[in-house]
Symmetry: C2
Subunit: 232 residues, 2 copies
């Protein structure tokens, strides 16, 4: 029996990272799911991430608590209001206030540490450069530079082992294409959570940027949206 | 009055990072000291870092708790024995077991996030490629790759502001030269802590790699070592 290659998969419990988990599973990797508890305003994301890890038979689901609130600077960790009912073209102008400074850099750095301990050479992350281009740390040139750095940062880099890869299978897909891909691979999107501002029972607001992109994605894909929204 | 430039300085309370703090202070930066509580086996390092921040009039001293123990893989966070009484040439062969996977990458990533929130364009770190070359994330090519990545990761990178610099003033200095530099700038090394395996009252063991490099550095610099060791 051939031993499976290990992969660390960054999982938020959202639509994108869950699709990435399905892709990594489909490629035959042994999955190590990594989530962060970072002063999100709700725990629904983490519950979703746990369900997803179980659904895809991850060997381990690790939740690391990180203190981004100590640093501040974002609507997702501070008490700044989450913007509502914006059109896609408004989202695309400039860096959104939901941007968390250096968030992907911090997430990838923990993934890198874990990969090194596990002997994994693949890190999967659901960044996307199409639908929501305002985040600097979702651009392909950033991911490329991160991978170069990561290969110099670690034991594998010094000892000349196999190179580490940052895998971004969603980088150039539209939301509707991501959903189509996930449906093909059997993702049950009702277990995922995307909303930035859910109700106290975890219903999606339907109005934040994340909800709007999700709704439009299902519409464009011609697939029924299984999400429970507050006002419908 | 000209406004001072802000700098984030990574501070462990040890000899190297305290010298870096003195250098940044001497260059006229407004100092933001950043330390990590990461399952070190003792709190003496953090106490030292706090004293150092006060001594150099840092505007703020932020301690972020990070959970490296959840990831494992190092004598500094696991229960692996710290090696003792090694000669320098033994230290130089291969990657030491006190290496913490991706540690500098994680530290720098938090520094990057804080720098972005503060509007700082300089991050100081006390890495050194001479005296202890076994750590992959202390090499100049790693620091260079990190800086390139950091400039793509952040708002400043997208908006084309001033570039962010990772400053490593100790990179090519021997331990004795670091000590001489610090003494010139008025560092009181008795407030710093280097030992990997101190006594319960915080006395240095005198036998771990860190103590041995520190002792030899003072000896070579011809400066009296103010450290309190257990057995002398």
């Amino acid at each position: 029996m051939i031993q499976k290659q290990k992969a660390v998969v960054l999982s938020s419990g959202g639509l994108d990272s869950t699709t990435v988990m399905a892709i990594a599973a489909n490629e035959g990797y042994e999955l190590f799911s990594l989530s962060f508890h970072y002063g999100q305003r709700h725990a629904f994301e983490l519950n979703a991430a746990k369900k997803v890890a179980i659904a895809f038979n991850a060997v381990k689901h690790l939740v690391i608590k990180i203190d981004l609130a100590a640093i501040g600077g974002s609507a997702l960790t501070d008490t700044i209001e989450v913007p509502k009912n914006r059109e896609k073209k408004q989202m695309d102008s400039g860096i959104p206030i939901t941007y968390v400074p250096a968030r992907n850099t911090i997430f990838l750095s923990y993934a890198l540490a874990w990969a090194e301990v596990l002997g994994a050479f693949d890190i999967f992350i659901g960044v996307n450069a199409i639908d929501y281009s305002g985040y600097p740390d979702c651009r392909p040139e950033y991911i490329q530079a991160y991978e170069t750095m990561a290969n110099l940062a670690t034991r594998a880099g010094v000892e000349g082992k196999k190179p580490l890869r940052i895998q971004t299978p969603l980088l150039n897909l539209k939301k509707s294409q991501i959903i189509q891909k996930g449906i093909e691979l059997g993702v049950r999107y009702e277990m995922t959570h995307s909303c930035y501002d859910p109700s106290e029972h975890g219903l999606a607001c339907g109005e934040c940027d994340s909800c709007i992109l999700r709704k439009e994605g299902f519409l464009e894909a011609g697939i029924q949206d299984p999400t429970h929204y507050i006002s419908r």
